[in-house]
């Protein structure tokens, strides 16, 4: 986890706080309120930004991260290569499109084609 660029999941998010690593937290909308407020409390103390992902639920956040599981919260540790993709996630979440959070370790173009909107099926 130390060398990675982002980690997914509540436990790793708290672990990153205790290791003083991380630049941005993204929380899904359906995160249980106790957990959400705990993460917000930690991030307030650590002066780290929190973004509430605008998708429907944790399934959407998992899909945006390119994973096949649900993700309630994730933390961006090194934003440099992830930055373009983070912005892509955030900007498209605001505009209501679900993107793919690109594979961080790859060296491909940081703007992948967005997935077709699942809500139009």
């Amino acid at each position: 986890m130390e060398s990675g660029k982002y980690t997914l999941g509540y436990k790793t998010v708290l672990k990153s706080f205790r290791n003083w690593k991380g630049k941005l937290i993204i929380i899904a909308k359906c995160c249980p309120p106790h957990r959400k407020s705990e993460i917000e409390c930690y991030s307030m103390l650590a002066k780290v930004g929190v973004h509430h992902y605008n998708g429907n639920n944790n399934v959407d956040l998992g899909t945006s991260s390119g994973k096949y599981f649900r993700v309630c919260c994730l933390i961006i540790i090194h934003p440099a290569t992830a930055f373009g993709t983070v912005l892509h996630v955030i900007s498209t979440s605001v505009l209501g499109i679900t993107p793919i959070l690109h594979d961080i370790n790859g060296t491909r173009d940081p703007r992948p084609e967005p997935l077709p909107d699942p809500y139009t099926y």
Partner: protein, 177 residues
Amino acid sequence: MGLKSERSVFLIFKISKLLCYSPETLTTHTSTEGERESEGAKMVKFLKPNKAVIVLQGRYAGRKAVIVRSFDDGTRDRPYGHCLVAGIKKYPSKVIRKDSTKKAARKSRVKCFVKLVNYRHLMPTRYTLDVDLKDVVSGDCLQSKDKKVSAARETKKRFEERFKTGKNKWFFTKLRF
């Protein structure tokens, strides 16, 4: 749609400010690994000495404590982030006007504990308690029983002093749960 796109641009600017990037470098940012480490806002360390925390696990769960010394990278015996905390075992009771001085003195007693706690078992708060405990609660005070007892006794004195001044009221009130 116009309003939404404005908001997205605002968000992007907000986040770029947060991460200390300028908007122009968004798509064409190709910095080296070393540069990446130093750029961007660094996380503030909050598990520092004098931080008030709440112990979450163990016999002292729910008790408030203050971090005296923190070991971020752990030690050989404890290879995880942990800290030495001095906390309140028994909170002082509520003193009312009717109480005699003797009773008030009895009610204002604080019982303390000294413990090494894993970071996982602490909940940090926004409060701090600047009581100087570094000389009292040192690294070796947990090695033997009598050292531990004398350290706890000394912190008890300092906590009671602080309680009687009326400062840090939050720290000396029991957390209700």
